[in-house]
């Protein structure tokens, strides 16, 4: 099976963080606890990004997700305080949702993971990867991603203005 070195141990630890945090988000009755589990899960994903040598995206994950989105969600939980502890966490179709989720998992398992299963020889994976400098160049290179980059900027501006307009008190 998997040989135990620093990388595989890190992978196991971060995977447990990611999936355990996800389970905590979905099942926790108190939403503040759910938000803290979400932070744990996002942190685990950031660790997986580091293991996949995408250090810049790991830093963005910590800054944007944990630093901004998770805090925004905690703010929303506190602003809707009376809804934080509902007596019924799940709706009436929760068993149907469970069937759908498990079915989806089996589908992904058979359709996507089984064809690449057992590919244990990772020696063919290129050891040298593109760096953060290459990512920065690619995002502003006229032949690569400058147009999607600008569209993303406009989307963020539009989302910010929209959020302010929607959440503003009309009185």
């Amino acid at each position: 099976m998997l040989e135990l070195n620093a990388q595989s141990i890190g992978f196991l630890v971060f995977s447990v963080f990611t999936i355990g945090g996800g389970l905590g988000v979905v099942t926790s009755r108190n939403l503040i606890h759910g938000a803290l589990f979400l932070i744990l899960s996002l942190f685990g994903a950031a660790g997986l990004f580091v293991l996949l040598s995408a250090e810049f995206l790991a830093a963005v994950q910590v800054l944007v997700y944990i630093g901004a989105i998770a805090i925004l969600i905690i703010f929303a939980v506190m602003l809707t305080r009376s809804m934080t502890r509902l007596s019924e966490v799940f709706n009436r179709q929760w068993w149907l949702s469970a069937v759908v989720a498990v079915g989806l998992f089996v589908l992904i398992l058979v359709g996507v993971i089984l064809p690449v299963f057992g590919g244990m020889d990772t020696a063919s994976v290129a050891p040298d990867v593109a760096t953060t400098v290459d990512l920065g160049v690619a995002l502003v290179d006229g032949n690569q991603y400058v147009l999607p980059f600008e569209v993303a900027s406009i989307l963020l501006t539009a989302a910010m203005i929209g959020a302010i307009v929607i959440a503003r008190d009309n009185e």
Binding site: Q7, S8, T18, L23, V25, V26, L31, G34, L38, S41, A45, L48, F49, L52, A54, L57, V60, Q61, V64, Y65, I69, L72, I73, F75, A76, L79, T80, M83, L86, E88, F90, N91, S97, A98, V100, F105, I108, L109, V112, I113, V116, G118, T122, V125, A126, D128, A130, D134, L135, A138, Y145, A152, L155, L156, A158, A159, A163, I164, I166, D169
Partner: protein
């Protein structure tokens, strides 16, 4: 290195947990958190495929960066809508928000 299918397995499990949360939770904020989990699973998949298949080409990381942007926009607008609904209906339970129901 850890083989590719293990990353795919973690991402698939996270995506299905998030899908279950979206389908079964009653609180809109919890649904939004579950959507964030699903987007994270997609990002893990994108970066894993980038690292194992085309590590010289930046497309995987660039797409993951765009998913970050979409996630941030979605969280901002979604939470604004939730707070607006809470202000007018005094509830964030999605079954209570039935104004457009025929």
């Amino acid at each position: 290195m850890v083989p590719l299918w293990m990353y795919l397995l973690v991402a698939a499990a996270l995506f299905c947990i998030g899908a279950y949360g979206v389908l079964s939770r009653r609180n809109a904020v919890a649904i939004l958190m579950s959507v964030e989990l699903m987007l994270n699973a997609v990002n893990i998949n994108l970066i894993a495929f980038w690292r194992y298949l085309t590590p010289q080409n930046m497309s995987g990381q660039a797409f993951a960066a765009f998913v970050f942007v979409i996630a941030a926009a979605e969280a901002a607008v979604g939470l604004a809508i939730i707070i607006s609904v809470y202000r007018s209906r005094r509830s964030v339970v999605v079954e209570d928000v039935n104004l457009l129901k025929g």
